[in-house]
């Protein structure tokens, strides 16, 4: 990888949710960088904080959740901005325009009362990236064509219920692309879809990314999707980063015991497997997360230090980071 320009730098992010049951420490001291033009994956199991992290990038954290500390530096065309310090009004300039989202459930993302053409146009009109509604509608049809929807002129006048799940997700992607964002965040964009449709949507994202030079942040729990789509991977576990690295390194030379275990727990359809290696135990409760390394109660290599102290993030080889005492020298 030659010179890489950071697009977003997240530094020591902490997000807590203040619930009646107690403080949920959803994100604990997470730092990472998104580089321009790359596809970065956030992968992890339920409750690991992948969605919360992605929403924090445009400060979409609603009470009882709060960004407790940390910085999110966005290298905008106007210079570096700390997203955490922005007001709602300033954020609106960025959200849906420079940083856009594609959510998991396309059915819920679209308003049943408006045509899809209207909904795509609306985003552009709101952000004043077009002169008028007429131009917006023309652009909307072009976007539908780009996302490979057949008969875009006719489909632009369709309501969401008239479209299949795959088509709806294409419309949602059109909305995401409408203002030519710098960063597109796709949160489990194919989890609600059948495999054959999933393959088509992933193909579309890959194509659009290459054509438009987009930066893509992809959130998924599916190791198959990671292998297929990503340049770099961040493995999250219980609100902390376990490992960061280039995709091939991560799959062929995983460092963190959690990454290793996760890869061995996925049944590979192309191979006959005699036995899956399950990870014992369950994901911890984040109101009272385990002290030290949050993975230690399930880790086969846990040492004394793991129970007491949080492991630092270490660069074991170029661009491959791990947060684990097995690789850290103490002191």
């Amino acid at each position: 990888m030659s010179e890489r320009k950071p697009l977003i730098e997240v530094k020591n992010l902490r997000i807590y949710f203040y619930t009646y049951a107690g403080v949920v420490k959803a994100i604990e001291d997470v730092s990472f960088t998104i580089y321009e033009g790359e596809t970065l994956c956030l992968v992890g199991e339920t409750g690991c904080g992948k969605t919360v992290t992605s929403r924090a990038l445009t400060k979409l954290i609603k009470p009882p959740g709060r960004i407790v500390s940390g910085e999110i530096i966005y290298y905008s065309p106007r210079g570096p901005i700390n997203i955490v310090e922005l007001s709602e009004e300033e954020l609106r300039e960025i959200r849906g325009k420079e940083i856009a989202y594609i959510v998991q459930d396309p059915g819920a993302a679209l308003d049943p009362l408006y045509t899809v053409g209207y909904q795509i146009s609306e985003t552009m009109v709101d952000h004043e990236t077009v002169r008028d509604w007429k131009e917006a509608f023309r652009r909307a049809i072009a976007l539908l064509r780009e996302t490979l929807i057949p008969e875009p002129e006719r489909r632009a006048k369709a309501y969401p219920h008239e479209l299949s799940g795959g088509m709806k997700q294409r419309v949602v992607i059109s909305i995401g692309l409408s203002n030519e964002p710098k960063l597109l965040i796709a949160d489990e964009p194919t989890s609600f879809l059948d495999v054959t449709v999933q393959a088509q949507i992933l193909e579309l994202l890959r194509e659009l990314k290459a054509r438009k030079g987009l930066t893509l942040l992809l959130i998924t729990h599916d190791m198959g999707v990671v292998a297929e789509m990503c340049d770099r991977v961040i493995v999250l576990y219980a609100g902390t980063i376990a490992e960061v690295g280039p995709v091939e390194r991560m799959f062929y030379r995983p460092l963190h015991p959690y990454t290793t275990a996760l890869l061995r727990a996925v049944p590979n359809p192309l191979q006959r497997m005699e036995k899956l290696e399950a990870i014992p135990g369950t994901i911890p409760n984040l109101i009272n997360p385990p002290p030290g390394c949050r993975f230690h109660p399930r880790c086969p290599y846990a040492m004394d230090v793991c129970k007491r102290e949080r492991p630092p993030m270490i660069e074991v080889e170029p661009q491959h980071f791990v947060s684990c005492w097995l690789y850290a020298k103490r002191g």
């Binding site: 795959g166 054959t196 088509q200 091939e248 727990a265 049944p267 359809p269 994901i283």
Partner: protein, 326 residues
């Protein structure tokens, strides 16, 4: 069909049509299952795969007679289950059971684990000497223990709830279990635990499984044989390795080409089969072969006539005009 040991379950020409627009004002029929035949042999796992709406769950429910069929028969231990009555039906219900997909809705939130696991015995009027001891033993079988005995479902994680659901099924010492997407709502680390446990229980008790799933990796891991369904029909069936390594039906090939493989070198170097279209609605399925509108090899005959399920190689069946002679 060729014999491979004893068929515990035989499905013959099974059909289930659901009315659209209510029973009285039926406008159309959803042909959820439309002429399906297969055997499940004792001690094996038959995997049933397909995308949403292909009829795999309906097939599972019909086999257990949780639904009445529109047409066709299911034989369990040689008896037609749709003709069973009284004592024989109760006996069937004891021997054949189901584990559902969602462990959050399949357990009564107001019952303790003890009551949940004991309920099937109460229903069947089976007495055990020491109920508590009996339930504890079952809980150990599924990786839980006596401390869980008097707790309620909400105190458990998804994986643990699925263990409770499995303990409840095991309580009746069944022979046959339909596993309907038993791990789809679970995280991979927990999924692996449950799948391994199901395999172990199968060995220990000589259980026979019908494993229903849309996840091809999971199906391959669990199954001895696999049946692929598309819009209410079986399009291909054969030994698991055979179906995955030498898929015959264009739909099976498309499915296999669609799955993201957890191996970046393989997934990026794979030849990309063009994947087109979406599963159509089962209300008005296409005539002829139901896959023809999406099939890259569709010929004239495919639009007109339904291909029969033929045995292409030993124990490997396919319903496709590429292989069948008219």
């Amino acid at each position: 069909m060729t014999s491979m040991g004893n068929a515990l379950v035989s499905v013959r020409n099974l059909r289930k049509y659901f009315p659209v627009g209510g029973v009285l004002f039926t406008k159309a029929w959803v042909k959820a299952v439309d002429g399906v035949s297969f055997d499940i042999y004792e001690g094996e796992t038959l995997g049933l795969v397909g995308e949403s709406g292909c009829g795999k769950t309906t097939t599972g429910k019909l086999i257990l007679r949780l639904l009445e069929p529109t047409d066709g028969e299911v034989y369990f231990e040689g008896k037609n289950v749709f003709k069973l009555r009284g004592k024989e039906l109760r006996e069937f219900r004891r021997k054949a059971n189901i584990v559902f997909q969602d462990p959050y809705t399949s357990l009564d939130p107001r019952m303790t684990v003890f009551d949940i696991v004991m309920e099937p015995l109460r229903v069947h009027g089976i007495r055990v000497e020491d109920p508590e001891q009996f339930v504890v033993k079952l809980l150990y079988e599924v990786g839980l223990n006596e401390t869980h005995l008097y707790r309620y479902p909400h105190e458990f994680s998804g994986g643990q709830r699925q263990r409770i659901a499995i303990a409840r099924v095991l309580a009746l010492r069944p022979k046959f279990i339909v596993l309907d997407e038993p791990t789809s709502n679970l995280d991979v680390s927990v999924q692996a635990q449950i799948l391994n446990m199901l395999k172990e229980l199968q060995k220990r008790y000589g259980l026979t499984y019908l494993f229903i799933s849309h996840n091809l990796g999971v199906v391959r891991y669990m199954s001895d044989r696999i049946a692929v369904m598309y819009l209410g029909k079986i399009v291909e069936m054969g030994p698991a390795d055979e179906v995955f390594e030498n898929p015959l039906h264009p739909y099976t090939r498309m499915l296999l080409a669609s799955i993201p493989v957890p191996d970046p070198k393989i997934s990026r170097s794979r030849r990309r089969t063009k994947i087109t279209g979406e599963p159509p609605s089962p209300i008005n399925p296409p005539p002829g072969c139901r896959f023809h509108p999406r099939c890259p090899h569709a010929k004239n005959v495919c639009e007109k006539e339904e291909p029969p399920l033929i045995e292409y190689s030993k124990n490997h069946f396919v319903a496709c005009w590429l292989y069948a002679k008219r």
